[in-house]
């Protein structure tokens, strides 16, 4: 018999509940009705601050949260439950819809707490909880005004600092006021708070601690705030982030108990006094305690799902550990961070110079780890958190000492029961089983197999370490001829200035090479500027497309793509392309990169086609190369009513600057003239979107099998800065990526990811930026059209011949038929295979 489960609320925890019930109840004995207040399905509220990067709500979407295609789940949004009739077991929604239930789960979440400060309801005063809140803040932050705009965040906890980061990313100067004696008073201790304050202050955030907000007053568009310590602030907007309060009114109104500090009172099985009603997430007071972070909420969802599907479960000791990166500053706390356990001892390592504070709380015999605080450098967070409640592998002082002198804690020290991924509750044992028992030999396969690392991603470095610990060597050897990775070969060739493949393989490889290492080395030689890619021995290294400077198609003919920078072309040039296509009988098609592809050219026709195109001012478009392809653009401010910058002009400048740059894989780019993003720049390896003040640069996007959106690298930069950063980005990619690795996986596999990339190419943390820029300057200076290079050299031209003994005789196996008024190839059946 089908029973009905009604879920009141649709946040992250409610979604986890629905997922868990659907997974554990494949037969569909529960029909689930979800009634949510917000107009959109559950989204990643934990990641809310990242919404500022691109303002794309789709990026916060939780997979499957619309339950499309699942008939067992009915999702009603924008219509919250407003009453419960426990006698009749029904709920009523705001719209008057009545729904019966067999089980009711309240997952109504919480509301931001706004203290009754005078002026808290003025225009320009906001809270920070939903996408709509951020949209409203964005509008207010974007209003024109004089000078640098400023904002105040009331509350210096975790969420308050997130809000400060969002405001800073929007270009405002944030102040933060915290009543407690330090920032993040719940999570970290005084020492860590001191360092955090120093690091955050260095990032243009003004911190006021130990004081309250007395009053907010409006004067025209300005807000004036008076703090308890007498400070007066002149502001553009104010954001309250002073904590949350559980949404427990449904329980109160239907006679269910609430906790002493609010929240729907439930026992350790998350059940209220009414056996048919449960509460989970921020609205629940489990055994009297409220939880404001997502991990315990997920645990509650799992507990209820287990009971609904015939199992038993009780709320486990919650994992209250926190790790976040605030404006580049690592902050983490785990276990008993404040040392409240009786007899506990604290061991502190505080390096004010390096900006690193670490504290471990240990048992009275200093052998068992109880908790800790890390500020500035939280790289050991995953390992240490997993060790909470367990024997330390070494003396705590030795563990805290900086790398080199210390007894670093390795993954080996962790027992199998230690949780590696706390978001999805995956243990070390489960991961090592996936590696050794199920044959997972990459981080990606472990993710797919165990779900570890698929939520917040902070444990991904641990997955790599576990792979290594299990003896899975992720070989970097290019092929059987070289034990080096592409990046290593690049450095060898750069450092030794060797200019031929023969010498490279003789000195650093073995054998005679193959179709993997030869083109890879050819690409490296080309990037480093060794003349025309068909010069001398280089010609024998090139893949067929590079060898013939055209794209081989399935019948052995080639297609020809002249460069049309930015997609801008004169009618005269269009006529030339049309005439060439007519004269050589070529099939023509517009490409996705805003240019024209001419198909069906035979090897011996290629130079004649190029000559006509080159004479008319065209050059190679490198459609055949692992190189820059196109820089797509919208029409921009020249014509468009909405454009704010000249996107076509920039696209042409970029395409001409980076044309011909040989790289590990193809590189695509786009420039959009406004936030409407008509050029689809965020689907490119590097994409540029115009802003009122300059350009935003996004990196690491691609289409293809695994589409990715590019992520924001820098915002509001001028054209000169933009080009300097792209120079560095491309050259760093070309030097360090693996063979056939696009920019997205390159960034993903980089230790530290996008933050590390930003540190290297924006902040110059490795001191290599001048070198990268010089290398790009040399590329720009050395560029020459490859087609023209062939036309001007009889030796190279001689290769474009159908048959060595019958030049000029067309390949008899190639023929065409007509389809939709154009030539298309007649495909030969695959010929009979001769037996050996």
């Amino acid at each position: 018999m089908t029973r009905t489960l009604v879920v009141a609320g649709h946040g992250m925890v409610a979604h986890r509940l629905v997922e868990a019930v659907r997974t554990d109840d494949p037969a569909g004995t529960w029909k689930i009705v979800v009634l949510g207040e917000e107009a959109r399905p559950a989204y990643d509220r934990v990641g809310l601050t990242s919404y500022v990067d691109g303002w794309d709500p789709a990026k916060l979407a939780l997979p499957g949260a619309d339950y499309a295609g699942d008939d067992q789940v009915e999702l009603r949004l924008g219509d919250p439950v407003v009453a419960i009739d426990r006698e009749r077991r029904t709920v009523t929604t705001r719209a008057g819809f009545e729904q019966g239930y067999d089980a009711l789960v309240l997952a109504t979440g919480s509301r931001p707490f706004v203290p009754p400060v005078k002026g808290h309801d003025l225009p320009g005063v906001f809270v920070y909880r939903t996408i709509e809140d951020l949209d409203a803040i964005r509008v207010a932050a974007g209003k024109p005004g004089r000078g640098r705009r400023s904002a105040l965040v009331i509350g210096g906890g975790l969420l308050g600092l997130e809000a400060a980061k969002a405001l800073r990313d929007m270009g405002l100067s944030p102040h933060v006021v915290e009543m407690g004696p330090r920032l993040m008073p719940l999570q970290i201790d005084e020492g860590g708070g001191g360092l955090l304050r120093r690091l955050i202050t260095g990032l243009d955030v003004t911190v006021h601690t130990g004081t309250s907000t007395e009053a907010i007053e409006a004067d025209g568009d300005r807000l004036f705030v008076r703090l308890g310590n007498g400070t007066e602030l002149d502001l553009d907007l104010v954001v309250f982030s002073a904590g949350i309060r559980p949404r427990d009114e449904l329980a109160r109104e239907s006679g269910l108990d609430t906790g002493a500090r609010g929240g729907i009172a439930v026992d350790l099985s998350c059940r209220t006094a009414d056996e048919n009603i449960y509460a989970i997430g921020e609205c629940a007071a489990v055994d009297g305690r409220l939880y404001g972070i997502v991990a315990p909420g997920y645990a509650m969802a799992e507990v209820v799902a287990a009971q609904l599907t015939g199992g038993e479960a009780t709320f486990p000791d919650p994992d209250m550990s926190t790790k976040l990166k605030l404006m580049g500053v690592d902050v983490a706390s785990f276990g008993d961070a404040h040392g409240v356990t009786e007899g506990s001892l604290e061991v502190v390592f505080n390096d004010a110079v390096a900006g690193s504070y670490k504290k471990l709380v240990v048992s009275d015999d200093s052998r068992t780890l109880l908790g800790g605080v890390l500020v500035g450098d939280a790289s050991e967070f995953n390992t240490l958190r997993a060790l909470v409640g367990r024997r330390l592998p070494a003396d705590p002082g030795a563990i805290l000492a900086p790398a080199g002198g210390g007894a670093a804690v390795g993954v080996d020290a962790l027992p199998d029961a230690a949780q590696i991924c706390s978001c999805n509750g995956v243990t070390k044992g489960a991961i090592t089983h996936a590696i050794t028992g199920e044959g997972c030999d990459s981080v990606g396969k472990i993710k797919a197999c165990t779900r570890a690392g698929t939520a917040c991603g902070s444990c991904v470095p641990m997955l790599s370490k576990l792979l290594a610990a299990c003896g899975v060597e992720q070989s970097k050897a290019l092929c059987e001829h070289f034990t080096h990775s592409r990046a290593e070969l690049f450095e060898i060739v750069r450092a030794t200035r060797i200019t031929t493949f023969s010498e490279i393989i003789r000195k650093h490889g073995k054998g005679s090479g193959c179709a993997i290492c030869k083109p890879a080395v050819a690409s490296i030689l080309a990037t480093l500027g060794n003349g025309h890619i068909l010069g001398g021995e280089q010609a024998t290294l090139q893949d067929t497309n590079d060898k013939f400077l055209a794209n081989m198609q399935r019948n052995g003919t080639y297609s020809v793509v002249p460069r049309i920078p930015g997609g801008e072309i004169t009618p005269e040039k269009l006529l030339v392309i049309a005439q060439v296509a007519l004269d050589f009988g070529l099939y023509t098609k517009i490409t996705g990169g805003q240019r024209i592809d001419l198909f069906g050219a035979t090897v011996d026709q290629l130079p004649d086609i190029w000559r006509r195109l080159v004479d008319a001012g065209f050059e190679s478009g490198h459609a055949y190369g692992k190189a820059l392809r196109t820089v797509k653009s919208c029409v921009g401010s020249t014509w468009c009513r909405y454009g704010v910058q000249d996107s076509v002009g920039l696209a042409i400048e970029l395409e001409l600057r980076y044309r011909g740059l040989r790289s590990p894989h193809k590189i695509k780019s786009g420039v959009s003239g406004c936030a409407r993003e008509c050029a689809e720049a965020r689907s490119k390896d590097f994409g540029i979107i115009a802003t009122e003040n300059g350009w935003n640069l996004y990196v690491g996007g691609n289409g293809g099998i695994t589409p990715r959106h590019a992520e924001l690298l820098v915002s509001d930069v001028d054209t000169e800065t933009l080009i300097r950063i792209i120079d560095r980005f491309l050259m760093f990619y070309v030097r360090t990526a693996d063979r056939l690795q696009r920019t997205a996986p390159w960034i993903e596999e980089m230790e530290g990811g996008l933050d590390h990339l930003r540190a290297v190419i924006v902040d110059d943390s490795l001191g290599i930026c001048a070198d990268l820029e010089a290398a790009m300057a040399k590329h720009v200076e050395d560029y020459a059209d490859e087609w023209r290079g062939v036309l001007e050299d009889p030796a190279k031209l001689a290769r474009f011949s159908s048959f060595v003994n019958a030049p000029g005789t067309p390949d008899p196996s190639i023929s065409f038929r007509t389809e939709r008024e154009q030539n298309v190839p007649v495909l030969l059946g695959v010929p009979e295979v001769v037996g050996r």
Binding site: E480, H481, G511, S512, G513, C514, A515, C517, K518, P519, E537, A539, T540, L541, Q542, D543, T544, K547, F548, M552, R554, N555, G556, S802, F803, V804, N805, A806, T809, D811, P812, S813, I814, L827, L828, G829, V830, P831, V833, V834, G835, R836
Partner: protein
């Protein structure tokens, strides 16, 4: 060195002729059996564990230059032709 050219024989038979370092010559059918395109002469020449190979430029299968055997699909091979060089002229014979 280490590259191929195509030649046209009587009856429209296409041969891919490869010259390796040390003036070692090999000849295979130019027809790639996986795509049906006459392109093997345009593949990259190299070796696989010491055996000389050409890699089809279409779908990248490798063929042993001495036997015509495909190294990536043991059921497939291409025709080989005898090669003789006399007085600087390359002669290609029947298999």
């Amino acid at each position: 060195m280490g590259a191929g050219v195509a030649a046209l024989l009587a009856g429209d038979v296409q041969v891919a002729i490869f010259r390796l370092p040390g003036d070692e010559f090999h000849a295979l059918s130019n027809m790639d059996p996986f795509s049906g395109a006459a392109v093997l002469a345009r593949g990259i020449v190299g070796d696989a564990e010491g055996s000389p190979t050409v890699t089809s430029p279409v779908y990248k299968q490798r063929f042993d230059l001495r036997t015509g055997a495909c190294l990536d699909d043991e059921e497939v091979s291409v025709r080989t032709f005898a090669v003789r060089v006399t007085g600087g002229v390359v002669h290609v014979g029947s298999p």
